[in-house]
Symmetry: C2
Subunit: 519 residues, 2 copies
């Protein structure tokens, strides 16, 4: 067990900041957890980013096989800290130990997935067009291109995935895999987990001979430290998972820099589920149970939580009756932190006051300290279309049922803001017969499901966990799966270079044996 | 010959706007060219974008082979208008007929390149991960992904490539190839060429049965029409080639929308050329002649024009002497329009007043109406580093020679803004011995050349015509070559879909026979 110090990691050295930025808080009890944490000073922020910038030329030139070894070492070090994570995690996050152990596995799985990707090496999209000196009217030069890393990346830790989207989560893993040093900014909601994982990353960097500055972790109160990192001229991209307000603030900062930089913010999504009548043939109550399971998983604190259900008029009465009874009997759960709990209580109260909205059911159990309970509301498709505020996210186990004709539903879906996911429950005949609805769903989301539920995001090569704004800041990207690495790269071309001076990926003999596009 | 009407194309119908936005002007004489042109009205702008949005579902679903036929038909129609282009073009642009005929060929070549790309179909990066229902602890769902088009795209025509980066140029060709309808905004510098080419596009759309609204061309004075297109909620991306002021204005507009959208602006670049002493072994005068050819090609009005040359102290005296004599004897040339000519005269005058800058040579010939003449300036690397304004673009046949030690040059290169290209002339030994310099050059540009000159951008699969800001707004992209299509797409995933409901690219039998990633 390492003992927690409460200080930032400025590369391989520890911060000496003395301004408190608070302590971890047990959301189930409100008690504070030792130790106290200290903000990185402005000088330390500068030092961390400078170290990252200085590490970039060396780190980006390290072959994929060695970068893979670094990522694998991080995974091993995190696994070695598994008991520590399982002890500290539930206290800081309110999440059960089993979830934290599962998320540790997912985090290490992601690190190893990116390790495999860069060890194999074809991901760089190497393209080779050889010279044709005799071409008329002009000779053709030798031009070769591949993806190269952008530079130091700022990664903001997420509250709802304290491991898989935090210090060494998907953003960090994909940025490091791409060849970009990472300056991570801890989330105040789990400072201890952040420290445990950062120590693992730093040990792994040391063990595998990575340059100092390839990774730093900064603590800070409020938004000052995070904003100053994003404003720093050496930072070349930003990864973020969190609220729409937080994400759009970073987008504004990044766009206002003398050199604007890309921000990959995964923000809000209400993940519409459309159920057409034929889908009920399999059993309305069974579908309601499955839906309720997705709605309440992790106390509804997943970005793919199904916050919106469309039903055609006159169908799904038994589904709704069962959903109501499940919600009424639903147990409250401890939410991640006091801020999220308060925001959930507010958003799931204020929606009931919107014109046309009916509260179908609320959990009848009393909420304990820091808890949120399931709730389900309903509204007509016409009223939904008339009230943009009904597209606001209730981050927690609440959902809004919208009923209308198929045309009303198609119009409502067409008017939705961008979503991470959209789900259609229907027969294959209904799928074929409702082209306009399916096209509207396709247009509004990153991942379109036929059947099933959006929670549970598979980490694989075909996953798209991204979607049109505001579900993400940049719908041209995914933050889950192997394609996430492309967020931190740009294409670069070499013209007329001698073979020995080219990167190995582009040399004549294809020494790495990767897949290449050769014309 | 079609007769020019002076009105916008709102899809397949012609505008009825009555507000004049001026006429073409012969930059060599200042005379105005018939007909008068008329701004699209706000209602017509709305109509053009609405038509594009309405065309999007149908157009984006059209198979690649049919989209390819549309692009090929555009090329044929443009070729059929070749004489008309060659007659009108020189009058509007000051460019010689041979250049316009050559650029017509390049434009049609680009259209056919994108046609081949989408007819073949593998460009969509299809990824297939099949279900594993028995996987423990959880079943794996069937997830498939590919690139899908973003939606209607605004394309701004460029003054310096009145065909290859205008109405049916690279931006339009790649957006149409991706499945995105295009709303083009004409450049005031060549309204007649724009009308000729737009008529060709509309005829091709009609011949190949494309939905009305797949293409529109709008005329407008000032920036009102262009800005209103970019602000329109249905527009999903912007393509632009032009000035830094113009590009950054569009970036600001796009970022301030309720839904921010990507802007691909190819802006300013001064394209540094570093010549190390060994490169002179091949002949200083020969190198000076080749450099002068690149500098003055097209009166220096290429985005890859070499506006900056680094020489190590004590080397290249004969190169400079020859360059001076070539510049002094250099003929002025007619520039594209009065605004560009004025800006060139101003920037190539004001640089001489910057501390430490010496005017090495100016053309001794008198400039006629609308003409610009070659000029070469010099400064020490230390003064260059101390004066950021020396990184400003002189758009025309002027260049700045910077001399210093190899360390000074490396420091100056490291401090450069982002560039489209960087070029190194050196021996292979010098290339190997100057890792820091080469790394700095690589970091600052999209395309790095060893020998040769940056003008002449090969249109092929490996070309990267993009670079870090401000050479482009988004260094993760290229505006030339097949990769340009990816600017107008996003990844989209389908989960659990029946085979028949999937796009052909993702079906089990691979009916299109494309390359896919299958896990």
């Amino acid at each position: 067990m390492t003992s927690l110090l409460g200080t930032s990691f400025i590369g391989s050295t520890r911060s000496s900041g003395t301004n408190s930025c608070g302590q971890g808080i047990n959301p189930a009890t409100g008690e504070t957890l030792a130790p106290e944490y200290f903000s990185a000073t402005p000088e330390e922020v500068e030092q961390a980013v400078r170290l990252a910038a200085d590490a970039f030329p060396a780190y980006s030139a390290i072959p994929g096989k060695q970068r893979g070894a670094f990522l694998r070492a991080i995974a091993e070090r995190i696994e070695a800290a598994g008991d520590e994570i399982a002890t500290r995690g539930p206290k800081e996050t309110g999440l059960p130990e089993a979830r934290l152990r599962g998320e540790t596995g997912r985090t290490c799985g992601q690190l190893r997935m990116f390790a495999s990707l860069v060890e194999e090496g074809s991901w760089v999209d190497a393209r080779i067009e050889r010279a044709q000196p005799d071409r008329q009217p002009l000779p053709k030069p030798d031009i070769r291109s591949m993806s190269v890393p952008l530079g130091p990346v700022a990664v903001f830790c997420a509250s709802n995935f304290p491991l898989a989207f935090s210090v060494a989560g998907g953003d960090t893993a994909s940025a490091l895999a791409a060849g970009c040093p990472v300056v991570a900014i801890a989330h105040h909601s789990h400072p201890g987990l952040a420290e445990i994982v950062a120590a693992a990353v730093i040990m792994a960097a040391d063990e595998t001979g990575m340059p100092d500055g390839v990774f730093s972790l900064l603590y800070g109160g409020g938004r000052a430290v995070g904003q100053s990192v994003v404003k720093h001229p050496a930072i070349q991209a930003v990864g973020f998972t969190g609220s729409r307000a937080g994400g759009t603030a970073l987008m504004a900062t990044a766009a206002a820099r003398p050199q604007p930089i890309p921000v990959y913010a995964e923000m809000s999504s209400i993940n519409p589920v459309v159920i057409l009548p034929g889908a009920f043939a399999k059993g309305e109550e069974t579908l309601a149970e499955a839906f309720f399971g997705s709605l309440t998983m992790g106390v509804g604190q997943f970005c793919t939580n199904p916050g919106l259900v469309f039903l055609t008029e006159g169908s799904g009465d038994a589904f709704l009756a069962k959903l109501k009874s499940l919600v009424e009997a639903g147990a409250p759960g401890t939410m991640l932190n006091a801020g999220i709990c308060k925001a959930y209580q507010e958003s799931s109260s204020s929606i009931a006051a919107v014109s046309g909205v009916e509260t179908l059911a609320r959990s009848s159990a009393d909420c304990g300290h820091g808890q949120g309970a399931p709730a389900v509301f309903s509204v007509s498709a016409k009223d939904f279309l008339a009230n943009e505020e009904l597209q606001g996210e209730m981050f927690g186990p609440a959902t809004l049922v919208v009923r209308g004709s198929i045309d009303d539903i198609t119009a409502a879906v067409s008017a939705l803001e961008g979503q991470l996911t959209a789900t259609l429950h229907a027969t294959e005949d209904e799928l074929a017969a409702n082209e306009a609805l399916v096209s509207a769903l396709r247009n509004r989301c990153g991942r379109l499901l036929f059947g099933g539920f959006p929670t549970g995001v598979e980490v694989c090569s075909s996953m798209v966990h991204g979607g049109p704004y505001p579900s993400t800041s940049d719908g041209r990207s995914t933050s889950v799966g192997t394609m996430a690495i492309h967020r931190f790269t740009r294409p670069a071309a070499w013209q007329g270079f001698p073979d020995a001076a080219l990167p190995a990926e582009l040399r004549n003999g294809n020494p790495l044996g990767i897949k290449r596009h050769e014309a």
